[in-house]
């Protein structure tokens, strides 16, 4: 077992030290995870970060589920990019998800590429990276792996499970599979099933990767050359879906990039082209192409209604979890309509649900940005749940 490493890092404002523990859970091959595909899969390593302290009765744990290209570095510097964690606005000392009060756990998902077992990990049967021998996984499989981690940490019930986009899908899956283990659930900018349009965009991304001659049917790990171009194109196409027309227009308009006039070439004349190329190339440095294929597939397969006899409400029948569903006005990838479907299903079983739509023109990405109204919502919801759960401000049971 790899040792846990705890380090002190300045929080986003640079003012407070934030204790981060980087840890791993090794699930042995003789205790495999039963995947939705029927495969018994193991061994599995789960790389995860924790922040804050677990209280004595283990009632103050918040699980953060990351999105497609996110990772466990939710509130600390990402080691590969050196950039601040992806949710430092929301998670940290004194933040809406307050690491002074709560024990925050953020694992890298199954199939990921930052420490948790994924297609780039070594297949013990061959001694080589899995590549396409990695099993096709689902959102439910990711949640099963997380449940093993929560078991390992000795936590019966999570105080809250929070996540946006694909993270929100995991939140819904948690709330459906483990009704008694989730006190509060916050699915953000997400949907109970992946829409045809979203599957279509993902397919474009996957085909871009697979069309790259360096992809080698997923067997590119030994050659030292990775399918950079394919993955970069996939990221560029996906990135457009994370923004909105208004946001693109405001940010770039038809502005030219470092030049006075068109070059009459296929250079990145326009700022928006330059921006997307940059997004594509920096993404490739931190992400594995096969992971991208597997994780997008898992999202495409997600359909919480289909898992419950085509009635979404069945997924939540008997739930006592408190839900806070959040959407953003300009998000066309996971539009408010799809959040409302979740709310309707929750109402149909008389669940305790709040639903807010936050006004923003940032598109789907709004859930990662500095949106004060969003933070006020999360702070209020989590705070009131803590009160009802009997958690005092020190994170201890009252």
């Amino acid at each position: 077992m790899k040792p846990n490493i705890t380090s002190l890092e300045a929080d986003a404002a640079g003012s407070r030290d934030l204790a981060v523990t980087h840890a791993n859970l090794e699930i042995p091959a003789d205790d495999p995870i039963g995947l939705d595909s029927g495969i018994e899969f193991g061994p599995v390593n789960i790389a995860y970060n924790t922040y804050g302290a677990l209280n004595t009765d283990k009632s103050n744990a918040i699980l953060i589920c990351h999105a497609l290209t996110g990772d466990q570095h939710v509130a600390n510097k990402q080691p590969l990019t050196g950039k601040q964690g992806w949710w430092t606005h929301l998670v940290g000392p004194g933040k809406p998800i307050d690491t002074d009060r709560y024990f925050v756990i953020c694992p890298n998902i199954l199939g990921g590429c930052l420490g948790t077992t994924g297609p780039a990990s070594i297949n013990p049967e061959t001694g080589l990276p899995y590549g396409l021998k990695f099993p096709v996984i689902t959102i439910g499989d990711m949640v099963e792996a997380q449940a093993r981690l929560i078991d390992h940490l000795g936590i019966d019930q999570l105080f809250a499970v929070v996540g946006g986009s694909m993270g929100g899908m995991q939140v819904l899956e948690w709330a459906s599979r483990y009704k008694d283990r989730v006190y509060a659930a916050v699915p953000i900018a997400t949907a109970a099933w992946h829409s045809s349009q979203n599957i279509a965009f993902h397919e474009v991304g996957r085909q871009a990767v697979m069309a790259d001659p360096n992809w080698l049917r997923g067997d590119y790990y030994s050659g030292g050359v990775v399918p950079r171009n394919g993955l970069a194109v996939a990221r560029m196409a996906a990135h457009i879906t994370y923004l909105s027309e208004d946001a693109l227009h405001e940010k770039f308009g038809r502005n030219l990039q470092d030049r006075a006039d068109r070059t009459f070439s296929f250079d990145a004349d326009f700022q928006v082209e330059s921006y997307l190329r940059h997004q594509g190339s920096t993404f490739v440095d931190r992400f594995d192409a096969n992971s991208y294929l597997y994780i997008t597939r898992a999202m495409d397969y997600f359909d919480l209604a289909a898992e419950n006899n085509d009635v979404l409400a069945n997924a939540f029948r008997g739930t006592r979890t408190r839900f806070c569903v959040v959407s953003f006005t300009s998000d066309w990838l996971y539009p408010t309509r799809e959040s409302r479907e979740i709310v309707q299903a929750l109402n149909a079983v008389a669940a305790n649900v709040s639903f807010v739509e936050i006004e923003s023109n940032a598109g789907h990405d709004a859930f990662l940005l500095d949106e004060p109204e969003f933070f006020a919502t999360i702070r209020g919801f989590i705070g009131s749940c803590a009160q009802k759960r009997g958690l005092t401000s020190a994170g201890k049971e009252a």
Partner: protein, 217 residues
């Protein structure tokens, strides 16, 4: 700064809320449809320890409610009540909102289906000031409880106490309690004289239930 009319409205809003709170049993499950900024839900949580939920049309108000820890969804009485199961709540409350719904009868039926009891308050359009305004000035009445001009009022289905009782009879609903109150917030129990209350009552609060409640699981 609050104008004089708004202050008056707030105070009377509280009278309406206090009367509703009196009708609610402690520890019950409550749905407040058109909950605004959550004032009534907060009052019921503080004084009656209810398990409360709200539905509100205005996005800003919903967000404010959730930020203060109330369970509220963005939605409206006409469209979103159909989703709720029968008898999901002890009380379904519609406070000064029915006159702004598109299909008040349908909304009322839904409230009676969702809640074991429905509590409805509304401004009485037969109040003497309103009658006088039409009779003597020949204009659409405006008051603290009906502040908007006719062309931008959200109130498309105003009614009187007598009208409301008639609808209850049509729906074969049991009126368990009915209280009218005047513009200074004084209670006028409706049983005494309907005609008088219909003149003196500025607003009314009704507690209703279905004659034969839907059997619950």
């Amino acid at each position: 700064m609050l104008g004089k009319a708004e202050v008056g409205q707030q105070q009377r809003g509280r009278v309406d809320h206090l009367l509703i709170a009196e009708m609610v049993a402690p520890g019950s499950r409550v749905l407040d449809v058109g909950c605004g900024d959550g004032e009534l839900l907060q009052l019921l949580a503080d004084t009656k320890a209810v398990d409360g939920r709200g539905v509100e049309l205005s996005r800003e108000k919903v967000n404010a409610c959730v930020a203060r820890g109330l369970s509220v969804i963005q939605g409206d009485a006409d469209d979103d009540l159909d989703d709720y199961p029968d008898q999901a709540f002890d009380y379904a409350i519609l406070s000064l909102t029915i006159q702004a719904t598109q299909r008040p009868r349908r909304v009322l039926e839904n409230l009676l289906r969702i809640g074991r009891r429905a509590i409805v308050s509304f401004p009485n359009f037969a109040h003497w000031r309103i009658r006088a305004e039409i009779l003597f000035n020949g204009r659409m009445p405006r008051s603290d409880s009906l502040p908007e001009a006719w062309y931008n009022s959200p109130n498309s289905h105003l009614c009187t106490i007598r009208d409301f009782i008639e609808l209850c009879e049509q729906l074969d609903v049991v009126v368990e309690e009915a209280v009218a109150f005047n513009s200074s917030g004084r209670r006028l129990p409706i049983e005494r004289s309907l005609s008088l209350q219909n003149i003196l009552g500025e607003k009314a609060v009704f507690k209703l239930r279905q004659r034969q409640p839907v059997s619950s699981e």
